[in-house]
Every structure is written in structure tokens, then in C-alpha cells.
């Protein structure tokens, strides 16, 4: 969104277009993920068809669900802290929508071209914890409070390996700017071979695995769904929410999955780059979003595949995995990457 065409628009017009495109990018991807993974892929894994009635092959099921939630009553528990309870879903959703701002989808398709890039993304993603704590406490329900506390403990623990895994990529690329990370991968070489560039999944494979595990935990998907464990906490911090506010949490969950997958595909899978086409060529402004979409769908499929395959971790196992395994391995990865960066 920076081409010559846009240079003639006023600042507020550019901002309006950015906001509109950002909303569309997050919501359309989230909707596609819900339909493809939650409705269909999971149904096939469980030998059933999933939604088939609304629209051809059940493709309009999502609109039906949204309509249903919008009609429901917006219930506030009598003893709830009305402002904190009401504002919590918006804090969570705002964090997701701000996170998408750092993701580029083509040489000219970016929202902000900041040199802070991924650092900015990590900062805004850490704000969602605040919304979850507000939801858990404001509901005035002990299940919600326990869910909120569990979610916070988990998110704090897994934010560290997430950021530490990213540092390996930043060291190797020598920049935090997301577009420059894509170019560094496209122009990179492995053992003198530059045919496929150097997607960092090859050299930062350890960081990639850690990023995926930490991402699963940040999204609170099974096996890390202790905060919303339905058999013991109903649905944790979301228990008291109904109607539109529940829908906001639901959208937030899947939109965040899509945005984190977009971050992972930029950091480790080469972003919008496909071997054989110059990543800064004009055609990539059209192909780039499609390439990104394929990578996002592939990565989120892994997330939901894992979600419907693995049993839930116990709270102590969950914390042990983060603090005793992922963080030391991520730190070792940073040290090795730094040494290799200086040597070569």
C-alpha cells in the first residue's frame, strides 16, 4: 500500500484504506480458517461431513453462526464489573488487529514499513493478556477467574520462548523489518546454493519448532487449552460471555491463529517469496497475498491438527515444558546463531 498511486492520497485517506484492508484481511482469513479447519478438516478426521445445509457444501454456515450470535442477548452477570467485563473482548481483539499491521504480503503491500517490525508485533501481542485478565476478573465468577489466571500464567511463560525464537531469525537476517527479513531469505544461500533462497526453516529449524509450540500455547489450543478446559472450568474466562462479546472472543481466537501463522510464514517460510520469481517484482503484489494465504492455511492446519490430536497438558507439565525445555533450547539457539553469524 505504498505505490505511486497511493502517494497522491491524503494521509487520512491512506489511513482509511489501511484500516479497511486490515479489517478485511483479518476477518476473511479468520472466516476461511474456521470453515476449512474447524468445520471441515476436523469433521473429516472424525469421519463425519460437518456442516452441509447452509449454502453449497455448508460454506455459508459461518454467516449463519454470526447471525445467531448477533441475535443473542448481551448478558452481564449481576455482580460483574460492567466496564471491565464489557471492554475485555475489545482489548483482546484490538491486540490482534494491531498485530496484523506488521505483516507484509508483497513488496508494496504493507501497513507499516517500520524498522521495528517483528518487535512491534511482539509488543502488541503481549497486550492481549491484559484483556484476558480483565475478562476473568470482571466476570465475578470463580471459573472465569481461574481460567483467566491459568491463561495469564501460560501466556507469560510461552511469550518468552516465542520472542527468543524470533531473536535467532533477527540475528541471521540482521534486521527486524519484516519485508527485509523476506528479502534476506530470498537472497540467501545455503552452502552456496541459492535456488530456493534460504527460508529460515532450514537454518533456524529449532527456532521454527519452538515458535510453533509457543504459538499453539499463545492461542490456548489443545494440548495447551488448560485455561479454557471445558470439563473443569466450563470455558474459563469466556464462561460468562454471550452474544456479540462471545463472538468477539471467538473471532479473536481464530484471527490470532491466522496472524501468528502469517508471522511464522514471514519469519521462517520466506513470506511472499516463491523460488524463481524476484520478490520485489511488481507481479508479487498480486501473487504475494495468495502465496501468503497458502502458507497461512498450511501452518494453521498444523495447529488445528495438533489441537484435535493431542490430549491436554496438566498445568505443571505445561509450565515445565516452557521454562525447563523451550527457553533453554531457545537461548542455546541464540548463542549458536550468534557464533555462526560472527564466524561466517
Amino acid at each position: 500500500m505504498s505505490s505511486a498511486l497511493f502517494a497522491e492520497l491524503a494521509y487520512w485517506q491512506q489511513t482509511g484504506i489501511r484500516v479497511g484492508v486490515g479489517l478485511a484481511a483479518v476477518l476473511l482469513v479468520a472466516g476461511a480458517l474456521v470453515y476449512m479447519h474447524l468445520f471441515k478438516a476436523v469433521s473429516f478426521m472424525q469421519s463425519r461431513l460437518g456442516p452441509m445445509e447452509a449454502g453449497p457444501y455448508g460454506s455459508l454456515q459461518l454467516l449463519a453462526e454470526v447471525g445467531k450470535h448477533l441475535q443473542k442477548e448481551d448478558i452481564f452477570p449481576r455482580k460483574a464489573d460492567r466496564f471491565v467485563f464489557g471492554a475485555a473482548p475489545f482489548v483482546v481483539l484490538a491486540s490482534t488487529f494491531l498485530l496484523v499491521v506488521v505483516v507484509p504480503a508483497g513488496p508494496d503491500l504493507w501497513f507499516v514499513d517500520s524498522e521495528l517490525g517483528i518487535y512491534l508485533g511482539m509488543a502488541v501481542s503481549s497486550v492481549s493478556v491484559l484483556g484476558i485478565l480483565m475478562a476473568g476478573w470482571g466476570s465475578s465468577n470463580k471459573y472465569s477467574l481461574l481460567g483467566g489466571l491459568r491463561a495469564t500464567g501460560q501466556l507469560i511463560a510461552y511469550e518468552l520462548p516465542l520472542i527468543l525464537a524470533v531473536i535467532g531469525v533477527v540475528i541471521q537476517a540482521g534486521t527486524m523489518n519484516m519485508a527485509d527479513i523476506v528479502y534476506a531469505q530470498a537472497n540467501g544461500e545455503i552452502f552456496g546454493l541459492g535456488i530456493v533462497g534460504n527460508p529460515y526453516i532450514l537454518t533456524q529449524g529449532v527456532a521454527f519448532i519452538i515458535f510453533l509450540i509457543a504459538m499453539q500455547a499463545e492461542l490456548a489450543q489443545a494440548p495447551f487449552d488448560m485455561p479454557v478446559a471445558e470439563s473443569e472450568l466450563v470455558t474459563g474466562y469466556m464462561t460468562e460471555y454471550s452474544g456479540m462479546r462471545f463472538l468477539l472472543f471467538f473471532i479473536g481466537e481464530f484471527a490470532t491463529a491466522g496472524v501468528f501463522a502469517a508471522l511464522a510464514s514471514v519469519l521462517f517460510l520466506g513470506g511472499w517469496y516463491v523460488p524463481g520469481i524476484d520478490p520485489s517484482a511488481n507481479i508479487m503484489n498480486v501473487l504475494g497475498p495468495l502465496v501468503m494465504l497458502v502458507k497461512i492455511v498450511g501452518l494453521t492446519f498444523v495447529v488445528f491438527w495438533t489441537r484435535f490430536t493431542m490430549p491436554r497438558f496438566r498445568e505443571d507439565q505445561l509450565q515445565r515444558l516452557a521454562w525447563k525445555f523451550l527457553i533453554p533450547i531457545a537461548l542455546a539457539n541464540i548463542v549458536v546463531t550468534g557464533i555462526l553469524k560472527v564466524t561466517f
Binding site: E115, A123, V127, V129, L130, W137
Partner: protein, 183 residues
């Protein structure tokens, strides 16, 4: 529009050489007023969780002021460290120990006098230090500070202070583990 024109006229009157950034000053004022109001609410509300949430507004305001000063890196760090970690840990601790909704009776009057004394002392120390070291200097902002400028400054000019802070934090970390250990 007339408001903008009035502001422009005001700024022209205030600084004949046109050396005043109107938009920056207006936003500084808006953010500063919001921060002061929120800071007052932090210490006047008797609901501990509300106090922490008002503190988030104050810290976000500080981050916004850093952006106005062209220091994006510091602003983002402010959000990551203070909002994303420090306030979240405050809230986590408060909710883990006393999760009561509504006002907290133990937030009493008797500690307010001492807190006010500490606050005034801290404010005067910081104000005197700032005024003493900068006096009438004006901050020159010609372009945003890049990350490399910040990192070069930390790892060359301020390396000793940086290492001292690191060791201090490590000591605090070990101290916390020692205090929390049962055996």
C-alpha cells in the same frame, strides 16, 4: 477548520520564527492531560484492579509521548515491558491473592500521608536532576531515532550502566528465588 485556523494563529503569535510544531503540541497536551487524570485515578480509586488498569492508561500515554519525540524503539519497549509484563504481573498477583470485586476496605487513609511524602520527594529529586542537567537546552528532533542509534549508544557510551543494571536484575531474580524456596 476554524479551530485549526485559530490554533495556527495562536502558534504564529507565540513563536514569531514559526518554530513551534502545532500538531505535536496539541497532542502532547491531550496525552499529558489524560495521563495526569489517569495518574490521579490510580491513587484515588479504592479498587486495586481499577488502579492497575488506570496505570495502563498512564503507561500507554508515556509510550505515546515517546512516539511524539521520535523514539519508536523506546515507545514499543515501554508497551512490551510495562504494559505487557509489569502491569500484567501486578494484576496476576492482585487476583491471585485478593480477587474481591468492588472496593477494597484495606486501602485506607492511614497510609496515604506517607505515600504522599514519598511521592513528593521522588518528584522533587527527579525534577531537580532533570532541570539541573538540561537547564535551558532544547531537544532537537530532526528525524526518528533508529534502532541502531539506540543499540550503539547502549553498547558503547552506556555499557557500564547497562551491565550494572543487568547484574542488579540478576541479583533481584536470584533473591526472589531464594525468598520463594521452601527447603
Amino acid at each position: 477548520m476554524s479551530l485549526l485556523a485559530a490554533l495556527a494563529a495562536l502558534s504564529a503569535a507565540l513563536s514569531p520564527d514559526g518554530d513551534l510544531y502545532v500538531a505535536q503540541n496539541v497532542f502532547f497536551a491531550v496525552i499529558a492531560v489524560t495521563m495526569i487524570f489517569s495518574a490521579l485515578r490510580v491513587v484515588t480509586t479504592s479498587n486495586v484492579v481499577h488502579a492497575a488498569l488506570w496505570l495502563v492508561v498512564v503507561l500507554a500515554g508515556a509510550a505515546a509521548q515517546f512516539i511524539l519525540l521520535g523514539s519508536e524503539f523506546v515507545a514499543v519497549t515501554q508497551v512490551l515491558v510495562y504494559i505487557g509484563a509489569v502491569v500484567v504481573l501486578f494484576l496476576f498477583g492482585v487476583m491471585l491473592t485478593r480477587a474481591s470485586l468492588g472496593d477494597d476496605e484495606s486501602v485506607g487513609e492511614e497510609k496515604r500521608g506517607m505515600a504522599a511524602v514519598v511521592g513528593v520527594l521522588l518528584f522533587s529529586v527527579m525534577a531537580i536532576a532533570l532541570i539541573d542537567s538540561f537547564e535551558a537546552d532544547r531537544l532537537v528532533i530532526d528525524e526518528p531515532r533508529s534502532v541502531s542509534t539506540v543499540s550503539d549508544a547502549i553498547f558503547s557510551q552506556y555499557i557500564v550502566a547497562f551491565e550494572a543494571v543487568s547484574v542488579l536484575l540478576l541479583a533481584a531474580l536470584i533473591g526472589a528465588i531464594v525468598v520463594a524456596r521452601k527447603d
